[in-house]
Symmetry: C2
């Protein structure tokens, strides 16, 4: 199977040993804690599941700026977007000089602990630095852009350091039959006996053209199978309900794909709507889950008219180092 | 694929619609609630995942007695063990005459809501009835038997009625890569394209004889695949840690089974240690998860010297209606 990025084995930050997990849950209750932002919580879930291997936690400002500007971190390794834990001044005051803190989940009632963090550094992020990251990652400074709005609404203090993840937020509890970690997807690819694996990103039921895209991609690279990998998350009014979406995709797979060629799975993350740059991130974590190929669609991960139809494809030749 | 028992489709009691789920979580906070017993919580998790299809919730005393005495419920349908929500007098006093209550999880810190229940009936269970159920299900009245001890230590009030399940307790959070619902296992069997499917029960890493058992069973029934289905749960001192067990089983599958013939999965339940009767329950829920055949081992689900080595096999011919 294809290796994870920057590591011989996947490095999920979830704590798999039940005894250690229990001890950390106990420890967390007595630690100073901050309720993190929704984008940071999405990052923690991805880190927990191994999708962001080899990252060990949240980036400091130098790494985040490197990721935004050149997709290169200070140690020379590749990562396509900043992965930051940005909090406001009140949060910083509340943790004082604690070296170990609990990160609470903003998306679950009661804000339960999502992860425990070793605080390596707390840095102020300047408006200039926020602006550079925004412009580079989203290619726009429009405050109406949903990704820009979510990014800029965060605090201006970056807490960096390694984390230990204790659950998968509402993604695993709300979508128990669909949510998968990268560990699980690698395990299942192994069980299927696939070597060449195409990944397909979707948020919605797949229509005929999506189905054909998968067939064409599989034929093109002589793939053993395709992993349909759904972005799971809170629905907006008018969205197709998750159980309907899942059932529709399963029926398509059953009717139009041979046996042992499709896996139907999902992952939890706050969509960035960053178009080209998000397509690179999508490709990054698909390698980590064991896919050898990834389908980048028209206006992939785009929103409104911010990106050209094929920008998310050309970025791989033009900007990815 | 083989049909579930007593139903054309699986009937998981987990609430899959995220909006309905959220509304129920909110409702639950204002309902009278009881912290249920660990065996009842295990039943709720199995009901949630569809394993106990077509049950809709917890049995009343007549159904539980029928299950214990003849494995037949009052409507004539088959179920091999009582599935009861037994609580003490204080719990009954605390819910008053509420028609709808929240069931809290005894196995998770803070006792979060596990399910919401419509109270159809509250009945006193006599010591005679408890004794009959104990003798029939466990084949012993020895209070040292761990299953008997767990059963008899419960309260003497049976709350019966349908439930809606809201999470999978600590099983899904502690074992995120292994825990599966019956819905998921059916989905994955479909993805694999298997028709004839053997299920194998284990709590431990598999040794050479277990591996051979699976090979022999698969050959015997010309199976497309085997689902290794681990009982997940709290470990006792000296138990093999879960990540080690999982890794050992995965390595065995990789080295000694052809591709696309093994799935490695787990389920959450409080073991009954009821030997023969539990073997029937094991077979029951393996059909619901889509297995056509189930391997019953020597002293299957037994403990100590309570059961003969092959009682769990002969019960299928001698007692199952």
């Amino acid at each position: 199977m294809i290796k994870p990025i920057g590591s011989d084995t996947l490095l999920p930050l979830f704590v798999y040993d039940p005894e250690e997990h229990h001890a950390l849950m106990k420890e967390a209750e007595s630690l100073p804690s901050v309720t993190i932002t929704s984008p940071a919580a999405g990052n923690a879930v991805m880190l927990g599941g191994g999708y962001f291997t080899p990252l060990k936690g949240f980036m400091n400002v130098a790494d985040a700026m490197g990721a935004a500007e050149k997709m290169i971190l200070t140690d020379g390794s590749f990562f396509p977007v900043p992965v930051m834990n940005l909090v406001d001044d009140d949060a910083i005051a509340s943790i004082g000089d604690a070296k170990r803190i609990a990160l609470r989940d903003p998306n679950v009632e009661g804000n339960p602990v999502l992860a425990v963090m070793d605080v390596e550094n707390i840095e102020k992020v300047s408006e200039d630095q926020m602006g550079v990251m925004r412009d580079k990652v989203y290619r726009t400074d429009d405050p109406e852009h949903p990704g820009v709005a979510a990014f800029m609404s965060q605090g201006r203090n970056a807490i960096s350091g390694p984390i230990q993840v204790l659950n998968f937020s509402y993604f695993q509890t709300d979508f128990p039959d669909t949510f998968r970690t990268a560990v699980e997807i690698r395990n299942e690819i192994q069980e299927h006996g696939w070597n060449t694996v195409v990944a397909f990103q979707t948020r919605n039921p797949m229509h005929r053209a999506h189905e054909e895209l998968c067939h064409m991609a599989m034929k093109d690279v002589n793939a053993d199978g395709v992993v349909i990998h759904m972005l799971l998350g809170k629905l907006k009014p008018g969205d197709i309900p998750a159980p309907v979406r899942d059932a529709a995709i399963r029926k398509m797979a059953e009717l139009y794909f041979p046996p042992n060629t499709v896996m139907i799975t999902g992952y939890g993350f706050d969509m960035l709507y960053a178009g080209p740059r998000e397509a690179v991130l999508h490709a990054y974590f698909r390698q980590n889950m064991g896919a050898t190929h990834f389908i980048v669609g028209r206006d992939h991960a785009g929103v409104g008219d911010y990106y050209g139809d094929f920008d998310a494809q050309t970025i791989f030749d033009e900007e990815v180092p």
